[in-house]
Amino acid sequence: MQPTSELGRPELKAKTFRRMGTVVSLTVPVGPEPWTAAAEATLADATGVVERRFGELDARFSLYRPESEASRLARGELSLREASQEFRDCYADAAEWRLQTEGAFTPERPDGVPDLSGLVKGFAIKEAGALLQSRGLADWCLNAGGDVLVAGSPIVGSRAAWQAGVVDPQDRTTLIAAYPLGGSTGGSTGGSTGPRALATSGSAERGDHIWTRGAGVSEFRQVSVAAADILTADVLATAIVAGGVRMLNRATSGWDVEVLAIRNDGGILATPGFRA
């Protein structure tokens, strides 16, 4: 890695922690003034807030924790009706997404056990983002296992967008594309804020939360979706991997999103936002 202090390149500070089976990082730009102990403390505090929220949601929704509410539901010790308000709200959201994606996204495993893991990471990012906002942080980038939500700019006081790279599924040490998030360039829409969220789902290293329809082999190896909010990006990326070209076309016509989809043979389908 090259140093970030090179001319014209934003200087950033990041804190990371492990949660939900992955790594979460919070990145903020270093302002025109030198990085101080106070700034370090602010970042550490903010990371702590994010980590606590992720921890709470993980404790409730993880199927890998035997004592979690999700696990108790899976074992039949608890019914949905007896579940917490938060669990039921999340489940209702997921059911609504299932409706809107015509079943490509589903909150249940094939055996009928409620499985909200496809929604919870996005939900946690969204919640953490709201907490950061409420603490008055203007410029930040929150990345949880490759799902990204940003605010503001990587350069304090500028309108520059965060540049998010998309991993090449055929060679995971390289990037296949980049997409600008946040900032306020807006391009053709004139000064408006661009999408703030980018989520990528894949079938190569997929989690158990992507159930494909029918025979079960996905057309797409990897799907990235940029959207105004992280839940839409995350859910639609998952749904397109599961639902194929049909779901891809449904997503691009029904939502204000940009999509980069990589077929199993390496072919690429992309909306104009991903074009060079």
Partner: protein
């Protein structure tokens, strides 16, 4: 397989529309047709590549017209602008495309309306078309501040570029 057939037929209609427009049949605002022939020249830069799948065949034939026309533009008057083709009824529903012309060559082809597999019309403002790798926004890893990728396990994740970037920034 009905879906594939419909998509194929519908997108083929788009290709036909493009050809029709290029031959001057649907130009509404100009007296003279753009001097291009229908995209018969080589499949050029935007072919679907090895995938060759049904869903991607038509857009590539549409855009291959772009590369073809840039070199084959004739002496006829050039009309720049964005033009919507006629809405054409197919047995799968209405289909309409929009073409952007600059310097007498088609620079972009967009589907405004296609039909879904139920025969219903869908308005399309944003359509995923086949691209070559060279055509996606290229990212030099040193110029991105974060990485999006499908990662599930933390071990796999830690070997990814994000971890490297995180380490570099701390």
């Amino acid at each position: 397989m009905r879906i594939r057939a419909v998509v194929s037929a519908t997108l083929a209609s788009v290709g036909i529309l493009v050809a029709g427009w290029q031959s001057g049949a649907h130009v509404a605002n100009t007296a003279s047709a753009v001097g291009t022939t229908a995209g018969t020249t080589g499949s050029g830069t935007t072919g679907a590549g090895p995938s060759g799948s049904v869903g991607s065949s038509a857009p590539s034939s549409g855009t291959s017209g772009t590369t073809g026309s840039s070199s084959s533009t004739g002496a006829a008057a050039k009309a720049d602008g964005t033009f919507a083709g006629d809405v054409v009824q197919t047995r799968f529903g209405p289909v309409q495309v929009q073409v952007t012309v600059s310097g007498g060559a088609i620079s972009d082809v967009t589907a405004l309306q296609l039909t879904d597999d139920g025969g219903r019309s869908v308005q399309i403002s944003n359509y995923a078309a086949p691209l070559l790798r060279a055509e996606v926004l290229q990212a030099q890893s040193a110029n991105v501040q974060t990485i999006s990728g499908a990662t599930v396990t933390s071990d796999a994740y830690l070997t990814s570029l994000q971890a490297a970037l995180d380490a570099a920034h701390i």
